[in-house]
Symmetry: D2
Subunit: 141 residues, 4 copies
């Protein structure tokens, strides 16, 4: 694992704006072995009970793992695709901003595997969701 990446946060967010403008997720940190995503919760994300919906949290996990894949490959690879992801919701999520950190478990020539944790602003010790998943790396043609 290298000490630093060949691209930075701004490059990731520029790609997002250009190629996936509909996502509200953004990169707030990335480095060797990890990626962190953030999201500003919208009224449309609130499910019965007043909680941030599960799919909203899943979307952030999926994005953080995508950033992790970029980190593991040391290149921004928009066509890395989720092959599988499992998530456990641990406690109700409430707040205006949510975060997710994804951490590298392994990378090989086929895939990147990571573990991810979601929390609400101001409560990093109260994890609202834990997940693990796999991103498939595009095969050379």
């Amino acid at each position: 694992m290298t000490d630093s990446l060949s691209f930075d946060i701004d490059a990731v967010n520029t790609m997002l704006r250009e190629q996936f403008p509909g996502t509200g997720n953004r990169c707030i940190d990335i480095g060797p072995g990890f990626g962190i995503a953030a999201y500003d919760v919208l009224p449309t994300d609130i499910r019965p009970g007043g909680f941030v919906s599960g799919p909203c949290q899943f979307s952030l996990v999926d994005c953080a793992l995508w950033f992790l894949a970029f980190a593991a490959l040391d290149r921004i690879e928009p066509m890395a695709l989720t092959s599988e992801l499992s998530i456990r919701f641990l406690r109700p999520a409430q707040g205006e901003r949510i975060f997710c950190k994804a951490t590298l478990e392994a990378v090989n020539r086929r895939s990147v595997v990571g573990t991810a944790h979601v929390w609400c602003e101001g409560r990093p010790d109260k994890i609202t969701a834990a997940a693990q998943g796999t991103y498939a790396i595009p095969l050379p043609r």
Copy 2:
């Protein structure tokens, strides 16, 4: 398992409009042991490559499993909550409308477990995602 449910599709969609107006998912069928959800894809759901995003499909799976929980309990229970969900993306999803059918695996006094499949309009034989997950039933106080 009863032959029919004590509520209908309209009652589910009325609850959605009132209690979760932000979701774009809706119920198109529900009966003993199953629930079917549909979603009209928005431009904001399209990820790099021109495909319907994974989180968009996850959201539909989560909703179909929620409907399945209503079916298994024979009541509309908005506070049934996803406890865990795992999803596998099988092939690229393209189209203007996606569907998900969730089928009952088991129900007990704690939880409802189901298997779900996602497809794009006109191609029900080309499953784009397969998933399994658990909804927790609110415990009596």
Copy 3:
């Protein structure tokens, strides 16, 4: 999907005896899109409460998905390897013999994905575990 496979149950079980003699699992049926594995429960598989242990059921699921991978590839491929598997235990398993049927969700040049169900002899309608997982196909060198 072809109408029949180019190998049969006996060929699968011969491979198991020769290359994985330690497994107690065996193939009892295989065909296009499915594989069925069986296992005779041993006293060492019984966990507290008198139930067939979870890992014993997982092992059978993993084996049924392996058979499914052979079916999907239409060849016995011992070096197909599980890449991920998620399992839900639905009710206590009791009995002297357990079965698992794995059904194909999708196959591509990288992987085979299937859904699996476990039951105890005589109670095929009482599923004790439901699972989904992915087998990785060896890449050409």
Copy 4:
């Protein structure tokens, strides 16, 4: 989370010998928020390719999560049962002894959720499997 548990490693292994004598897994460490299990690989655990089988690693993960449940509850609770577990196999496992550490994600009155990592003796930095799962806590009658 308390600073120490009200029971020790020996108490866990005594319960295992008495109530689950067929398991080859044992506890080698346990404390607030974690549990570590070990297993001496048998020739019957070796699958084609000469690797420690996936189910053998799953069994160790399941056991380490069980220990974690004891730690989270601060009591040895043999009737804690796995409700769901997902595992990813990251690289081939080879060696005579394997280890698994399970770490607490969350505990509530229904369940304990943890993340687990498996490695082979002498190579703790080469994780062979990563997993997450849920143990159900017996409900009061």
